[in-house]
Each structure stands twice: as C-alpha cells, then as structure tokens.
C-alpha cells in the first residue's frame, strides 16, 4: 500500500509541471490544434493553450454539461448552434470590440446566429463550403455542375459520403429542391429515398482522413459533403482534386469562437479570440494543418500568399457566398429524427 501511495503521489507530481505556466483551456475543432497556429499567441502571452477536440455540437454541449465552471475558457462552435449553447447558459457575452467586424466578409458576420436578444456571444472565425469534391482526372467537371449526377448511376461505387449528417442531409435537400432553412421533420421524410439511393451508389461513409485517403488514392472519385477544406491540404499532392458548387447550390459552414460561461480567465480568453481574429491569426487558421478554410476577416488576405489565396479561391468568394445556403438549424426533435435517419443510412 505504501508503494501505491508513492505511485499516486508520483502521478500527481508528474502532472504538476503542466500547472506552472498560465493555461487556457479550449474546446475546439482539429484546425485549432496546429502548434504553428497556437505558438505566436502562447509566446506573446506566456501561456499554454490546452486543446480538446470534440465532434458535433451535441457532444460538445454534453462535455460542457459534465464539466464544472472554470473547466473551459473558450470554445469553437458551429455558428448556427450558438443559440443552442446560449439557451443552456454555456456561453458568456463577447466583450465589445473583440471581433473586427468591419473587416469581415459581409455574408459571414451571421449576426442573427451569434446574437441572442441583442447580446453577442460569439464571433465567426472561419468558413467554407460543403459541396462536391471530385477528382477531375476521373470525373467530368461538366457532370458535377448538377447534383443529379450523383444519382444518375454513372458514378456508382465511386462516391464517398462525408460522415456528418447536417451538411449531407442539406445537400440531399438541395438536390430535392428543399432549402436548408425549410428542412424539418416533415420534409425530412422526402429525403429518405434519395439518401438511401446515395448510400447505395457510394462506397463508404467516412470521416476526414478516410475521405482524404480514398480521394487521394483514387478509390473514390467523388466526395459528397467535401469542399476546399478537404482538397486544399492535398492540393500539392494531387492538383486534380477539385470542388464545385453545383447549380442547385451548396452549404456554407461557419465556425465561431466564444468565451465559455464561468471561465476564470475572461480577459485572456478575449485576448485569444482577438488573436484568432487578427490578420495573422486568421491566416494561420485558414491554412491550419488539419483543414483549410476561408478566414472571416478579409484583412487576412494581406498576410496570405498568392498561392494560398489561389488554393482558397479567394477571388471567387463573392459568387460562392451568393449561392450557398447556411447549415440546417434543427430543433431537438428534428435533430433526433435526422440522426435516426442518418444511423439508418449507415446501417443500410
């Protein structure tokens, strides 16, 4: 038992060095885990940013529910889900002036979504599109201008589906002429057949890496739900990887950053958000090692290289933004129905 006591002491002491520097605990998506992106902030403020990745808003909110006040300082959250988090009291109001909103792309301020009853809780940091990514050496770009091609039979067995229910259900909706904002339990039923058809035509339903692997190695030629976030990192390896917003439209994703309610370091958290939204932080985030995406702050354009901007398709954004729709924002009941449908599709 003595040994055990020593051992446990050793375990506790072993963890102690981590406590020396000041820490900021962040609940994030994988693009924020890139050391190159975090380093400038850590050095400037002599602080260590601890990151924990989570998958899907529901999981993130569950994590917060199980945590104690002060466990988390900042969190990355889907801009369309900010309301959900605020409703449950997880987010603290964002101090004035943290987000350089004047420099933003107009369409991604998303004031309606990050503001609840006049109080702003989050700031959009990065955005992009969930549409169709494909290998133009194997697929006719002409075909990809319409979502109908996915169901035409021509590409059966060469399609992968990105494993996240919201964007893919959104795309299936677009193909059926249902706008994402109108997606509810009723219209969901009309998507069942197309979704199962898509599954039948596809080879796999996969996460980021499996999708990348499959696309890069030519196992599949089309990724439903893909976009620049997937092809940009592979650009050097395979310039034939391309993506397009078809005539039916595409989905706009936007991630935002917020201070978690109960944080003991609100100033530091605000500083972190300021850094992420600064031109340098935005450029780093846009080209982070996990996935690329457009920075919300246009000023990042001065920091990014021309080659990086070309990969991000900086100059086409106005057109893209005009044609893309936001993620569906389901209520609890619709969300459950969507997940049931998704599980059924996976299991089919």
């Amino acid at each position: 038992m003595l040994k055990q006591g020593c051992a446990i002491t050793a375990l506790v002491v072993g963890c102690a060095p981590a406590l020396q520097a000041e820490e900021l605990n962040a609940l994030i998506w994988c693009d924020h885990a890139d050391p190159a992106f975090l380093a400038p902030f850590e050095e400037a403020h002599d602080v260590r940013v601890n990151v924990k990745e989570y998958e899907g808003t529901a999981a993130g909110l569950t994590l917060l529910e199980q945590s104690r006040p002060g466990d988390w300082d900042v969190m990355v959250i889907d801009a369309v889900d900010v309301g959900r988090a605020v409703e449950r009291g997880f987010l603290a109001p964002l101090p004035e002036g943290v987000a350089p909103l004047d420099d933003y792309f107009d369409e991604v301020r998303l004031t309606d979504h990050v503001t609840v009853e006049g109080t702003t809780y989050a700031a959009v940091e990065k955005f992009g599109y969930n549409t169709i990514a494909f290998n133009k050496a194997a697929v006719s770009a002409e075909d990809m201008t319409s979502l109908k091609a996915l169901w035409s039979g021509k590409y059966d067995g060469r399609i992968a589906i990105y494993d996240y229910y919201l964007p893919v259900l959104g795309i299936a909706g677009l193909a059926e002429g249902v706008a994402t904002a109108d997606l509810d339990a009723g219209s969901l039923e009309s998507l069942r057949a197309p979704l199962m058809g898509l599954k039948a035509a596809s080879k796999q339903v996969s996460d980021v890496v499996a999708s990348q692997t499959a696309l890069a190695t030519g196992e599949v030629d089309i990724l439903v739900g893909g976009g620049e976030w997937l092809t940009a990192v592979l650009h050097e390896e395979n310039p034939d990887l391309d993506w397009i917003i078809p005539e039916e439209g595409g989905l706009l994703w936007a991630q935002s950053l917020a201070i978690v309610e109960g944080s003991e370091k609100p100033e530091l958290a605000a500083e972190f958000i300021k850094y992420v939204l600064s031109p340098e932080g935005q450029a780093g985030l846009a080209t982070s090692s996990c996935y690329w995406g457009m920075p919300a702050n246009k000023a990042a354009g001065d920091v990014l290289s021309d080659a990086q901007k070309a990969v991000l398709r900086w100059d086409d954004q106005a057109d893209y933004l005009a044609r893309a729709q936001l993620y569906p924002v389901p209520d609890a009941e619709t969300d459950a129905a969507m997940q049931d449908l998704w599980t059924e599709m996976l299991q089919n």
Binding site: M1, E55, G56, E65, K203, T213
Partner: protein, 284 residues
C-alpha cells in the same frame, strides 16, 4: 481455533483491497450504468426514471437491432477463423520448427503486438486499399484482372481482427502445446495411430481448454472493439460499439449508450455461460 481465526482475518485483509477496488470502480459504475439505461432523453435533457423504452427501441428499430446481428456475425466469424488459422501455426512452431529457432519464430509470429493498436488497424487500411500492396500484387501476378474492393467492407474489418487474434491465440495455444507431455503422442503412436490420428484424437482434445479460453477472450475483445470496425469498415454497417460511440459522440444520449452497453454485456455473459465448462480463466 484462535490461530485459524486470525489466519482467516489476515487472509481476508489481504483480499479486501482488491475486492474493494473491483467493487467501487467496477461493480458500482456498472450498476449506475444499468440505472442510466432506464432513463431517457427528452429533447436534449436526460430524464431519470424507470423506463424500458431504450430497450424496446433497441429491439424494434432496425438500425439498432441490426447492430446486434452485425456484431455477432463479425465476432463469430473472427473467432472461428482465428482459431482455425492459429492452431496449425502454434502446432508447427511447437513441433516442426527446430527447438533453437522456436523462440525466434514465436517472437516473429507476435511481433505486431508491439506496435500501437490504433496504428495497426490504420496500417491495414493502407495495405488493403485499391492502391495498396495487396491489390497491386494480386493484379500484378495475374490472380485478379482488376482490383476488387476490400477496404471499407466487412471483409476488411474481419481481416484486421483476425490478424490481431491469430497472434493472441497462437500464443495461448502454443503455451498449451508445450506443456503437454510428449508421452501421450508417443503412446498413441506406439499403439499404431497415424500422425493425423494422433493430432486429431490426442493432441487436439488436450488443447481444448486452452483453445476455448483463447476463443472466449477473442469473443470478448472482438465484440467490444470500436477502433477496428471504425477504421476499416467504412461505416457501411455499424457494430454495437460503434452505435454506442455514436450515441455518446453525436447525441450525448447517455441513457441509450448505457442500454446498448447492457445488451453488449448480456451477450458476453451468455457467451461465458455457454462456454464456462471449458474455461479456466484463472489458469490463463
């Protein structure tokens, strides 16, 4: 009498810490989970209660019910294949390979144990892909006209599993084989049995306890594994652990995750009861 009594107290005192640990960190959490499985998710809130709704859902909703059969099918296939492949391997190492090479060959046969488990599944994903070495080789030597899809199918999951459990079973069966006295085989041969007869009627039955223990372990580890089907199966079907993780990761539905876990536990218990007479868990 009093000495015996003191002995008993001392014996009990020695067992107590381990029992207490198992009680507090195993039995109590499990009971808590069973209780949680009777709660349900209302909208996004967990409502405690005594509600068999989750279990009803598991057995009526096709997507969930199929998780049970997917898990059972994969696990049964993996267990049988692994035993069939591992037994001859263990036997060859124990008898055909010269004694001085035996340890080296055994070491080679379990070498991949020492890489990381997560990475092992991932490396199969690289090997089994359409551009992977297996397809390249099969097409190259003309066995296949064009690559077939293995990756992202049940076959890939099974191959990944079998790879791991062949190693595990080879080890358990080998240690069982080398403990057997050569006298049995010799006696049978003296009585005129052929080599195959000796293997079939003498050696095989003697290794049965080892085989059953290994097979049971394979069953338990396989049916509870999340990583292998998640990496190799391509999400084309979902096993029980994948469904459990889906409830946790995407929905925050702890009651349903708990109910699925209780079902998983029940399956393992049934398997244990069915094979208990051959098992010697304490003597592994």
């Amino acid at each position: 009498m009093s000495i015996e009594r003191r002995e008993k107290w001392q014996g009990a005192a020695l067992v107590a810490p381990a029992l207490l640990w198992t009680l507090v960190f195993f039995a109590v959490p499990f009971a808590g989970m069973a209780l949680m499985s009777l709660a349900h998710l209302d909208g996004r809130e967990i409502v405690q209660g005594f509600d068999l709704g989750n279990y009803l859902k598991i057995f009526t909703e096709p997507a969930l019910r199929r998780g049970i059969s997917v898990s059972l099918e994969i696990t049964a296939l993996v267990t049988v294949l692994s035993v069939l492949l591992a037994w001859p391997l263990a036997w060859i190492i124990a008898t055909v390979v010269p004694a001085r090479w035996r340890r080296l060959v055994l070491l080679l046969a379990v070498l991949p144990f020492w890489t990381s488990y997560v990475v092992r599944s991932y490396s199969w994903a690289l090997v089994l892909g359409e551009k992977g070495v297996v397809m390249n080789a099969l097409v190259g030597i003309g066995l296949l006209a064009e690559p077939v899809q293995i990756m992202a199918t049940r076959a890939a999951t099974v191959i990944g599993f079998v790879h791991f459990f062949v190693m595990l079973l080879t080890l358990t069966i080998y240690s069982n084989l080398v403990q057997l006295s050569p006298n049995y085989a010799r006696a049978a041969q003296d009585l005129g049995a052929s080599r195959w007869q000796v293997i079939w009627h003498v050696i095989l039955p003697l290794t049965l306890p080892g085989v059953m223990t290994g097979a049971f372990l394979t069953f338990v580890l396989c049916i509870g594994d999340y990583i292998t089907p998640q990496i190799l199966g391509g999400n084309n079907e979902l096993s029980l652990p994948q469904l459990i993780m889906l409830q946790l990761g995407r929905r925050g539905d702890y009651p349903m995750a708990s109910a699925l876990s209780v079902v998983l536990m029940a399956i393992v218990t049934l398997a244990y009861v069915a094979s208990a007479r051959w098992l010697k868990m304490e003597r592994m």
